[in-house]
């Protein structure tokens, strides 16, 4: 199938009954091997999704995924509920994996580039394999098998074994290259009191982000334990700049680059006294003092790191210092890549001593430090085989293109961490004519006539054979059904409790894959090389990881969670330094190191040390498809390829760079575009309350009985029917409301609670919303016009009042607030009455509905929406074939001229309602889970029914932290936000004293009281 699945094939699949399941779900045609997770349909029921369990391979974390397939097409991924890694959730990258599956840039099939010809010639798989086997045979007969090199990336489990056996059997060499994979993925800090991260962006890429985010929420969010005592861990970020993870910190300590280890040493003891360390690290003594105090006060402290951004040549030393804080006796091992081995191979390649290279690693040409000059070495190799499913920087220099399956199309297994053996299961037939590496290797082995232990006809059989020990027969079925084997006996699948307690099985720090212990190393500060005056921080991207997911439109359109810059890269620079260089936000800078130079736009903010600049990995691709072409620059070009002295792990830290202004400045259409604003302009949207105050409040308000809670009743009063004055007699409802219209007192009033204390701003919800609701991507220029169609956005506020704005551009704050903003589904919705054609109206179950077919596009509703959460289809946006295969058949695709907005995933509500009706019962609380709620790794959303006083929603909304945004408008929003909990008295600004609906405020000090006197005075 050169151009994907044809409609006719597709219908065959659907019509083919039992075989249909097989054909639809399986690449290798074994009908009986596919076991749907929830239900086991004998045939596909058109319109009814089938779910398959598999494992996410977008990053090393290996989250368990549930993939929703409609008639044989994967449309949406979700976390496997009982999975120890994903806890039923995902990150933004995981949500976007379906776009990797249907990416229009993917190789359509195997091809060969003859020397001098240039254009690839398409071949059959057997043709390519025969050809390759012949060449390998040639080398072996000439006794030069040693010149065959296999660069593998992040292989574990079966693939690791196969690669090892294959290379051994052929006599080839294997070298491992798996960037950003050497972080431990099995730490447990869910119950820590103090968490210290040394540049470890564990909420983004470090280790196991979803699992860690889940733990972080439980450790850091405000909660009350069984005894009713308030609990909230503290989090300290140590590093020269603040990525997303750092923004959640209660304290940011920015030591002089290279001296981070001293902080760890100080805390672990035997690191000298605080004053001396403060002196050496340039950290303000009082800050260090606070850290030391907190450290002393905390019963359980966990330190993480160093993250890739802080990994220099002394990484092991820092890691061991950090480990001592955790009280781990033996120094934990490094893992992942040994760059030394790779560098040696590259030298041989350059010297022409490598005749044939197989590459199945994450795009070395893009992710390897420029100083290693990989590409020019690669060009010296006669036979260059790429398994990359995408055209990328590496494969464009290869002459054998053997596109691998996307992980949603292949059989495989993976070990995220000890004790967890995850299975990767194909959820549909391959989109293109691809073949997975395992099958290729087995085929080559067959053709070469070399014997591999446990060799089989197909990789699937090979895999099963390998698993015979762990799971066979029904156990295998169970394993496939759940997506792997972990935690000893199989745990029964259960939907996640809304804010439940799901901890990981593993508790002790253990070695990541593959373990490579290193002895104790003496710590010394990292010395920076280079002439420039700025220390360079190169840090992994939450959206693009090391660049491997950079071609997903959703992730490009999603603004960076920190800078809120979509579709672009930038260099972060401190305002002080910017002033010195006379640089403004968006001006172009030339960044030069010993190894290269690049041009990027300046992003000026105080989240980076004045003597440091930070650049994100991931963009700056040269051959990675239509959407990444010419976006940003690749910071790896600035690095030399040093490695950790002890373990050989790549060193991303330790380079100095010089900055030069090129004179290109920001205009409305060129340069970078930062979405939103940095302060709240006194709007009191994202509010916070101090830990002390909320503790007092909860103590005082103890014994509140849900249901009899006056505020809850009042909110219920807003429930869907009638205008209810903000201060009304709640008991008057719904009798009073009943007289309005024909709506009777409905059973449900859908609503949502959002806990700002849990939100880490990762925007997984946003991408989930794109995936679930067929939201189109509008592209960079339209985004700059403010026409992005995101139904759910994460607002990131550094401050409250406009006065702070200037100050905050200079001084970093420890109170950064994230505010998920979506349709508030108001009871007195301002958007509804202004619509002349009833396109916007109120449903009996309290939803603020938008009827696309009725909409004529007056845009009055959007004008009248105080939250500005309604978006308009300015054009009819295209879904590039085959990306349109991902469209959710349950949701309308909108045309130009139509208004749209969040629907609380009404399609899911109705699906559940139908299900309940079929079973002749009422909906259970927590049964309906909108996409955003489902995705959130910190479980910060609660969706449910306000009419039911016992529902989790009603209980959560009753919190003293509860409030509704812009409440004075009396739109009666159905979304209750729970205030973020800060350690110090927070400012909330806003105008005047305004009673918060949930009475929480009489306990919270009116921080940042009325500003109006300073507003618009004229």
């Amino acid at each position: 199938m050169a151009d994907g699945m044809k409609r006719r094939d597709f219908l065959k699949v659907v019509g083919a009954g039992g075989v249909g399941v097989a054909a639809a779900g399986c690449s290798t045609g074994q009908a009986d091997k596919l076991i749907p997770y929830v239900i086991q349909p004998e045939e596909i029921v058109p319109g009814v999704p089938t779910w398959y369990a598999t494992t996410c391979r977008e990053c090393p974390a290996g989250c368990g995924l549930m993939v929703e397939t409609h008639e044989g097409r994967a449309t949406k991924v979700e976390g496997t509920p009982d999975h120890p890694v994903s806890h039923g959730h995902t990150c933004a990258r995981g949500q976007a994996s379906v776009q990797g599956l249907y990416h229009p840039d993917r190789h359509r099939g195997p091809s060969v580039v003859e020397e001098g010809v240039g254009v690839p010639r398409n071949l059959s798989w057997s043709g390519v394999e025969t050809d390759l086997a012949r060449r390998i045979q040639g080398f072996r007969q000439a006794g030069r098998a040693g010149e065959i090199v296999f660069i593998t990336g992040g292989y574990t489990g079966t693939m690791d074994r196969l690669a090892r056996d294959f290379t051994a059997a052929v006599g080839a060499r294997r070298v491992e290259y798996a960037p950003l994979e050497d972080a431990p993925r099995d730490l447990d800090f869910a119950d820590a009191d103090l968490l210290i991260s040394f540049g470890a962006d564990f909420l983004e890429t470090w280790g196991s982000p979803v699992d860690y985010a889940h733990q972080f929420a439980r450790m850091h969010a405000y909660r009350r334990d069984a005894g009713g005592a308030a609990r909230r861990g503290r989090f300290v970020w140590v590093g020269p700049h603040r990525p997303l993870t750092g923004l959640s910190a209660d304290l940011w300590i920015a030591p002089r680059p290279g001296t981070e280890g001293r902080i760890a040493a100080l805390l672990a003891g035997g690191g000298g006294d605080a004053a001396a360390v403060a002196q050496a690290t340039g950290v303000p003594p009082q800050k260090l003092q606070t850290l030391v105090e907190w450290y002393g006060q905390s019963a359980r402290r966990v330190a993480l790191g160093p993250g890739a951004a802080l990994s220099g040549t002394n990484a092991t030393a820092v890691r061991q210092a950090v480990a001592r804080i955790n009280g781990a006796g033996a120094a934990p091992a490094a893992g992942g890549t040994d760059l030394r081995a790779l560098r040696q191979v590259i030298e041989e390649m350059r010297a022409g001593r490598v005749g044939m290279v197989f590459i199945d690693a994450p795009d070395p040409a893009h992710t390897l430090p420029g100083g290693m000059r990989f590409v020019e070495a690669l060009k010296r190799v006669p036979v260059r085989v790429s398994f990359s499913p995408f055209p990328d920087e590496t494969s464009r220099h290869c002459n054998y293109l053997l596109p691998d399956h996307h992980f949603l199309e292949k059989w495989d297994d993976y070990e995220p961490r000890p004790g967890v053996s995850a299975l990767v299961q194909p959820v549909m037939r391959p989109v293109f004519n691809t073949r997975q590496v395992g099958d290729v290797l087995l085929a080559l082995a067959r053709q070469l006539g070399v014997a591999l232990p446990g060799a089989a006809d197909s990789y699937y059989d090979y895999l099963r054979a390998g698993w015979a020990g762990r799971a066979s027969g029904t156990a295998w079925r169970e394993a496939v059904k759940r997506g792997g084997v972990w935690g000893g006996a199989a745990v029964a699948a259960a939907p996640p409790p809304v804010q439940g307690d799901t901890t990981t099985a593993a508790t002790t720090p253990a070695a990541p894959q593959p373990p490579r212990p290193a002895g104790p190393v003496a710590y010394q500060d990292l010395s920076f090389a280079g002439e420039g005056e700025f220390h360079l921080v190169v840090y992994p991207s939450y959206r693009f990881f090391d660049g491997r997911t950079a071609n997903r439109p959703w992730l490009l359109e999603l603004p960076d969670p920190v800078t809120k810059v979509p579709w672009d890269a930038w260099v972060e620079i401190h305002p002080e330094a910017a002033r010195r260089l006379e640089v403004e936000q968006g001006d172009e800078l030339e960044v030069t190191s010993r190894h290269g130079s690049l041009r990027l736009r300046a992003y000026v903010w105080p989240g980076v040390r004045p003597d440091t600049v930070a650049i994100q990995m991931g963009l700056g691709h040269e051959g990675f498809g239509q959407w990444t072409e010419g976006r940003g620059a690749n910071p790896m070009r600035l690095l030399g390829g040093d490695s950790d002295a002890a373990t050989g792990a790549p060193a991303y830290f330790g380079e100095k760079v010089a900055l030069r202004r090129t004179g290109e400045t920001n205009t409305r259409w060129t340069g970078i575009f930062e979405q939103g604003v940095r302060v709240q302009h006194d709007r009191r949207l994202a509010q916070a309350v101090s830990l002390a105050a909320i503790t007092r409040a909860d103590a005082a308000g103890g014994g509140r009985i849900p249901g009899q809670d006056q505020e809850i009743e009042q909110l219920h009063g807003g429930g869907g029917f009638a205008p209810v004055p903000t201060h009304t007699d709640p008991t008057a409802f719904p009798a009073e409301g009943g007289k309005f219209g024909e709506y009777i007192d409905g059973e449900v009033r859908w609503g949502m609670a959002v806990d700002l204390a849990r939100c880490i701003g990762c925007a997984a919800c946003t991408v989930a919303c794109y995936a679930e609701n067929n939201i189109p991507v509008v592209g960079p220029s339209e985004v700059k016009r403010g026409r992005d169609l995101s139904w759910l956005r994460i607002e990131r506020y550094f401050g409250v009042t406009r006065e702070e704005d200037e100050a905050l551009r200079e001084e970093a704050t420890d109170d950064v607030r994230f505010l998920p903003m979506l349709c508030q589904h108001c009871s007195n919705a301002p958007c509804e009455p202004v619509c002349p054609v009833y396109a916007a109206y109120h449903t009996p179950d309290g939803l603020n509905a938008q009827v696309y077919n009725r909409c004529v596009g007056t845009r009055y509703c959007a004008n009248n929406c105080p939250w500005k959460v309604r978006v308009f289809n300015w054009f009819t946006y295209k879904f590039a074939e085959p990306l349109n295969w991902q469209l959710n058949p349950d949701v309308t695709v909108r045309e130009k001229g139509v208004m749209e907005k969040c629907t609380f995933c009404v399609q899911r509500i109705h699906e559940r309602e139908r299900g309940a009706a079929q079973e002749g019962r009422l909906l259970r609380d927590g049964e309906v889970v909108p996409a955003c709620v489902q995705a959130c790794p910190t479980e910060g959303f609660v969706f449910g029914n306000f009419s039911d006083p016992a529902s989790a929603l009603s209980r959560v909304a009753a919190s003293h932290r509860g409030y509704r945004t812009l409440d004075e408008i009396n739109a009666q929003p159905a979304i209750v936000y729970l205030k973020k909990v800060t350690l110090h008295e927070p400012a909330n600004g806003g105008h005047g004293e305004r009673p918060a609906p949930f009475g929480g405020d009489e306990h919270t000090p009116q921080g940042g009281v009325a500003q109006p006197a300073q507003q618009g005075g004229h």
């Binding site: 007195n828 919705a829 109120h842």
Partner: protein
Amino acid sequence: MSKLRTGVLGVFAYLDTATDAIRRLKHAGYEVTVYSPTPRHELEEALEVPESPVRIFTLVGAFTGTAAGTALATWTSIDWPLLVGGKEVVALPAFSVIMFEVTILLGALSTVAGLFILGRLPHIGPPEAPLYHPSFTAGNFGVFAHAPRDRYDQVQAIMTEAGSEEVLLDHR
């Protein structure tokens, strides 16, 4: 009121002479049709005509409009009641605009209808008076006396006496 189809037309350059002629003719018992380039009270006074009943049309039309507007807005809302913004389904403050606009619309249209019916516009069929002179829309006044042929002489005399510039007889 069917007037005689025959008669004599007097063309007057002056308003006072025309009114004078009208008075004399009416006194002589003739029905007259007066042409004038612009409405003058003097003429109406001389003719002693009652107030125009157009206003009845206006009144009825306007009230019909109010009723229609109210009915439209109210009935369509009740026919398929949908809640928007928690407002009343029958929201009279909002509907008052509709009522008002329809009132004006029907009121105006029925006024025009009244004009056309009472003023016999557009003119189809035989004219009210058989004789007409284009100068009547310019500067001259015309007085047509509806009279049987045998009285033409008398009428002509009255016209000339009153100061008619020109007298036309209807000979058909």
